[in-house]
């Protein structure tokens, strides 16, 4: 479009640094954007502000001593971080996990998914301008799950609950009732949330057809988790690897159609419904009594400074709420890992941030970032 005065009007591209201290970057993250008016023409993510070389620290510590460190990667989902690390070490050393502990693990992982997705949706709407009302609805529900985590592990966020070959402690007496209440009430909360939001005209017009991620690019760029499934790729590691005991549960994998921000939002709502379904089955099937730590696991946990897995390498991965969380471990037969690598889902999901933002308005870049779901503790490590 050319205006009559256009030839005399001098225009130029504007470079804007969004972050690292910006409320919508969800932590210390920076987007180096080049704008043409309000449209993004270039955008480079800059990270590392929270880098502490987690991997190097881990290589100076015995295997078990790293468990609490993994809590601090994605500090919203400490339980699933524990899960992935425990799985990798179990694979490395060939440790089995008793039945009841498997159910406890799945229960914790799915509750974590509920926490993560509710919070993400709350904060996404925050980015959209629904200032903190949805977040408080989400926090209200999260609180109940954190209360349960506290009763079980002694900590609300830094749970440090998993052990190689099982879990740290059995459920206290009334804790199962807490889970039953959460499972009973959660669908009602989701209905309420959805009634408020899913059909909302403002939400739709801001989110639909914004930040579209095509299927082929999603696969090629190693995108995982709800973001991948929102683009219509049916890949869930719970189904693909059937790790732990996920083959015993009946649940569906929700898929998106267009891969826009709205799909990424809605896939998460549907995933929460499936998680509630899994939790119902866990409550039904879980054996009432049983070991929570296998004999081999007990060995590893009783004298952690002395315990040595056999030499070799192993890669353990799970479907964390944000995508594929993997741990690659190399053992040289000593009590400390020779190499310890984290494959963080939100770090790799950021690969396509620029592709999604180009051609969009700067205000939309904020919600596109919100829909990717990053936690800087994990991105920067």
């Amino acid at each position: 479009m050319s205006l009559p005065c256009a030839p005399t009007l001098k225009t130029e591209l504007l470079e804007v640094s969004i972050g690292p201290q910006h409320p919508s970057t969800h932590g210390v993250f920076r987007m180096n954007a080049v704008l043409d008016g309000e449209t993004v023409v270039k955008l480079k993510p800059v990270m590392g502000y929270l880098h502490r070389n987690h991997e190097q620290i881990a290589e100076t510590l015995p295997y078990l001593a790293n468990m609490p460190y993994t809590d601090r990667l994605d500090y919203i989902c400490s339980m699933t971080n524990n899960f992935a690390y425990a799985l990798a070490v179990e694979k490395l050393a060939g440790i089995d996990v008793p039945e009841r502990a498997q159910y406890l693990r799945v229960m914790m992982a799915e509750l974590t998914r509920l926490v993560n997705h509710s919070l993400l949706i709350g904060f996404l709407l925050n980015d959209l301008g629904a200032w903190f009302t949805p977040v408080f609805y989400a926090f209200r529900e999260r609180e109940k799950i954190l209360d349960f985590f506290e009763a079980v592990s002694g900590s609300r966020m830094m749970c440090n609950y998993f052990r190689f070959g099982g879990v740290k402690a059995d459920l206290p007496e009334s804790a199962l009732d807490q889970v039953r209440r959460i499972v009973r009430d959660y669908p009602r909360f989701l209905d309420e949330f959805e009634r408020l939001l899913a059909g909302n005209e403002i939400l739709k017009s801001r989110c639909q057809r914004v930040g579209i991620l095509p299927k082929e690019l999603a696969v090629n760029a190693s995108i995982t988790g709800p973001m991948l499934r929102a683009s219509g790729v049916n890949y869930d590691i719970r189904k693909a690897d059937r790790y732990s005991i996920y083959d015993r549960f009946d649940f569906r994998v929700p898929l998106g159609m267009t891969g826009d921000v709205y799909d990424r939002y809605y896939v998460r709502v549907l995933e929460m419904r499936e998680s509630v379904k899994i939790l119902e089955q866990v409550l039904k099937q879980m054996p009432e009594k049983g070991d929570i730590l296998s004999a081999k696991g007990l060995q590893a946990c009783r004298a952690p400074r002395m315990w040595k897995p056999p030499a070799g390498d192993a890669y353990g991965r799970i479907e964390s709420p944000k995508g594929e969380l993997g741990f690659y471990l190399v053992s040289d037969g000593s009590p400390k890992p020779y190499r310890y690598h984290v494959r963080p889902p939100s770090f790799i999901n950021l690969t396509v941030l620029e592709d999604l933002c180009i051609g969009q308005k700067i205000a939309d870049a904020v919600i596109i970032l919100g829909s990717i779901d990053i936690v800087l503790g994990e991105v920067d490590r």
Partner: protein, 150 residues
């Protein structure tokens, strides 16, 4: 998938491939790395369309850096195939996977940042976690940090 079967297929597809099997992973020379990766990506039997994890390991005793690549197939829901490439420490150059997979972009930058492996063909090989002026590669075993004696 059986490792022997994969090996046979690989040798059939790429003759004269110097191939070593270590546990459940393949050690291949860096010159053949891209063609092996391309075989796994494009052959309809494997269709490894997804590179999950790229990282490196430092072996001071062998004077080499090892690049470890985990390939999976989202389409066939199978995997992994683990490809390892060893490069000498004084000249750690190897081809970049970004020609085949966009997903390698950030992970290779991370391996460059922390280990100093130079990926040839990577369009934007800069430090990613540390700042640009940082000297050295802290994940190498011989790295000495400033405050080590404290």
């Amino acid at each position: 998938m059986n490792i022997q079967e994969i090996k046979d297929d690989l040798i059939k597809a790429i003759p004269n491939l110097p191939l070593e099997v270590e546990g459940s992973s393949f050690v291949i020379p860096k010159e053949k790395f891209l063609s092996v990766a391309r075989f796994f990506k494009e052959s309809p039997k494997y269709s490894m369309d997804y590179v999950s994890c790229i990282t490196a390991v430092d072996y001071p005793a062998k004077e080499c850096l090892e690049s470890v690549n985990h390939l999976y197939s989202m389409q066939k829901k199978q995997g992994p195939v683990v490809l390892k490439v060893r490069v000498p420490k004084e000249n750690p150059r190897m081809p970049s996977l970004t020609a085949l997979y966009r997903g390698a972009e950030f992970q290779e930058r991370e391996a460059y940042d922390l280990f100093g492996i130079i990926y040839e063909g990577h369009s934007d090989l800069r430090r990613i976690l540390l700042w640009d002026e940082f000297e050295g590669h802290p994940m190498r075993k011989d790295y000495v940090s400033e405050d080590q004696e404290l």
